[in-house]
């Protein structure tokens, strides 16, 4: 049961967003820019970073929601998502993304855990300053989103078939107020 009365039955973060529209608006804009910008990192790479950090934070709702969105951008290649979760160093992804996931994993622990060596390694694998910036900020943002979702004990849908439906909605129309104002996909 949620820690507060959201006055709605929406799943996961959507219940908190609907409860507090003033904070939902900037949160939606931030997610849209960080996860759907096509400059530098791809949308799939951005969602994989979000999925990985949410997995490390043990946030079931965010982990599976962003995993499904990544899956859409990867044309249904679920294997890559499993590989990233289990051991990204052996996953079928670029060396650059491996370097960035290493940084994201450190950010999940603490900002201070990121070392010069982590950054040099990512840069040597082709990461630009902007890629590194975006990776750190995506990872940090998911340390916020995950805590918002679990810290208020929002409702986690048990029906796994509902995750791809919400993912499709986000992949098609992006992040923003529509995810809690419009009818939930079913």
């Amino acid at each position: 049961m949620p820690h507060i009365d959201f006055k709605n039955d929406l799943p996961g973060i959507r219940s908190a967003l609907a409860y507090s529209p003033e904070t939902a608006a900037p949160l939606g804009v931030l997610a849209e820019i960080l996860l759907r910008s096509d400059e530098g990192l791809t949308r799939a790479e951005r969602e994989l970073i979000a999925t990985y950090v949410s997995y490390l934070n043990d946030c079931f709702y965010c982990h599976h929601s962003h995993g499904e969105i990544a899956c859409i951008y990867l044309d249904g290649d679920r294997e890559i998502i499993d590989q990233v979760r289990n051991d990204f160093s052996t996953a079928d992804i670029s060396e650059k993304l491996k370097g960035l996931l290493r940084i994201a994993g450190k950010v999940q622990q603490s900002g201070k855990a990121v070392t010069t060596d982590d950054v040099v390694h990512a840069k040597n694998s082709g990461a630009t300053d902007k890629d590194i910036h975006d990776t750190v900020l995506i990872a940090a943002a998911f340390c916020m989103f995950n805590r918002y979702v679990d810290g208020l004990a929002t409702t986690t849908p048990k029906d796994m078939s509902s995750y791809p439906l919400r993912a499709k909605q986000v992949a098609e129309k992006g992040y923003g107020n529509h995810i809690y104002t419009e009818k939930q996909p079913a």
Partner: protein, 188 residues
């Protein structure tokens, strides 16, 4: 030294917010609403939440900045110091102790927030909105602290710097200064 090229006259978070202004805009708007918007918690109380989370995340820059802001708003320095030392014995209301305890649990992880910690806050008069805002402020500072330290931004050692920053946070809040930050160049 920062891991990416940031303007030297803007240490800590400010250089990052100027580095990518498109992500900075919603972060600033969210912070302005949570810490300065209409609320039954005072601005000083909300700065104490930012302070305890930054302190537990060992983020020197954010801890010093929000301690300074809290001290200016509360017009004394004892409360912030004692909150950082021990929430249970700090000179704040029992409701505020319960909210600061929730914030400290959020710092560890969302799942650390127990129904008991929420019930205690409610018994002491905390409303759902106050609990919501406390959790989101604490979560937001888990973002800020990681952003600031994860890119290895500079934390000035001069206490006077934070006093100036605290004044800016009191007078201008979290919105970007209309004139930008070039005027700070000469002082740097």
């Amino acid at each position: 030294m920062p891991y990416i090229p940031l303007e030297e006259h803007l240490p800590g978070i400010t250089g990052l917010l100027e580095y990518r202004k498109d992500t900075a805009a919603p972060i600033r708007e969210l912070t302005q609403f949570l810490l300065r918007g209409p609320s039954s918690l005072t601005e000083g109380e909300r700065e104490l939440i930012a302070t305890i989370v930054s302190h537990r995340n060992e983020c020197r820059f954010c801890t010093a900045a929000h301690t300074a802001a809290a001290d200016i708003l509360l017009e004394e320095e004892e409360t912030s110091a004692r909150v950082k030392q021990d929430i249970a014995t700090a000179p704040v209301s029992d409701k505020m102790k319960a909210l600061l305890t929730i914030a400290a649990l959020v710092q560890q992880g969302g799942k650390y927030v127990t129904p008991e910690s929420i019930e205690k806050a409610k018994d002491l008069g905390a409303t759902d909105i106050e609990i919501h805002d406390t959790v989101l402020i604490a979560a937001l500072f888990c973002l800020y602290n990681r952003y600031v330290d994860g890119l290895s931004t500079v934390a000035p050692t001069d206490p006077g710097f934070y006093k100036g920053l605290g004044e800016r946070l009191k007078n201008h809040g979290y919105n970007r200064l209309p004139q930008g930050y070039d005027h700070l160049k000469k002082k740097a």
